[in-house]
């Protein structure tokens, strides 16, 4: 048994070799490796599991290849609404946010809810307000959008396919 471990995911779906370009595949693997690097640095240095999962997820949130943070999918109205959660197995303390729009790293906002509020789950404008009041990094909502995600939304609307079809297709 190892004295520290880290496991990550970047989404699941109909991800098949024949649909994947070499460039997309290389970018995805690089992103996953970068997230493992971030978490490994914490854990190998004696840091906590909580710090490690936050560090790894922040890397994935900044990577436009994955559906979180920058690169998140669009709502029907063309906005990005982000959800995140974090939980500490030592105490079963937990924090979560839903429908947030301005925090660069939603996972860090979830952690702030856990550690700096009496609550577990904040949503929408109130969560955005809490984030700003607690000094977390704020970004223009346009930060989260990418042309590829916009194209996927346009495909969903134009072809009258379901969200399930689109999200399974793009993982």
């Amino acid at each position: 048994q190892s004295d520290w471990t880290l496991v990550i995911h970047g989404g699941a779906g109909v991800i098949e070799r024949e649909r994947m370009t070499p460039e997309r595949e290389a970018a995805a693997r690089a992103g996953l490796n970068a997230a493992l690097d971030a978490g490994q640095k914490v854990l190998s240095g004696g840091g906590t599991a909580l710090d490690a999962v936050e560090a790894a997820v922040k890397v994935l949130e900044d990577d436009p290849n994955f559906n979180a943070g920058r690169g998140a999918v669009y709502t029907y109205d063309g906005t990005n609404e982000l959800d995140a959660a974090i939980m500490d197995g030592r105490t079963r303390a937990a924090g979560a946010v839903a429908g947030v729009t301005r925090t660069r790293h939603p996972v860090s906002l979830a952690r702030k809810v856990m550690e700096d509020s009496p609550h577990v789950f904040l949503g929408g404008k109130g969560a955005d307000q809490f984030s700003a009041e607690r000094g977390l990094e704020q970004v223009d909502p346009a930060w989260f959008g990418t042309p590829e995600r916009k194209r996927q939304l346009d495909e969903l609307k134009a072809k009258d396919v379901s969200w399930f079809d689109v999200d399974m297709k793009y993982g």
Partner: protein, 135 residues
């Protein structure tokens, strides 16, 4: 949806999940990722779980907590519990996957889609990064 689970040198576990949700979502729809016990759960007595997939089904099944409960009360391995709960979720119509680690440093994942972006690393262990189901 992205996520991570970890076990540190002190034997504690944690889980985190982050997502943009589903393309074209309306009416303030929220999936399983931020729902404690559905898409995210961590308990030193059992395991840490992060999930990705069709959130409504993961919420109904209570996937993350259900896996930890099977490990804690039924003594199943992470892999057994993950596969069992994912099979039950698939039976309801859900698809996706979970990543798992435990307080003794176990590592597992389970998914019922053709692929899942995933990876793991551990002290003294081989790093694995994979995308397709047959990797």
């Amino acid at each position: 949806t992205v996520g991570a689970v970890a076990r540190d040198q002190a034997g504690h576990v944690a889980a985190a999940t982050s997502t943009g949700g589903i393309t074209g979502k309306r009416w303030g729809r929220i999936g399983d990722a931020p729902i404690i016990g559905a898409g995210t759960y961590a308990d030193d007595r059992a395991c840490a779980v992060s999930a990705t997939g069709s959130g409504e089904f993961f919420i109904r099944e209570g996937v993350a907590h259900e896996i930890c409960a099977r490990v804690r009360f039924a003594g199943e391995t992470l892999k057994q519990a993950g596969d069992t709960v994912m099979a039950e979720t698939k039976a309801l119509g859900g698809s996706g996957g979970v990543i798992l680690t435990g307080p003794r440093g176990e590592i597992a994942w389970s998914f019922n889609t053709p692929g899942m972006y995933r990876g793991h690393v551990s002290a003294g262990g081989k790093r694995v990064v994979a995308i397709y189901g047959d990797e």
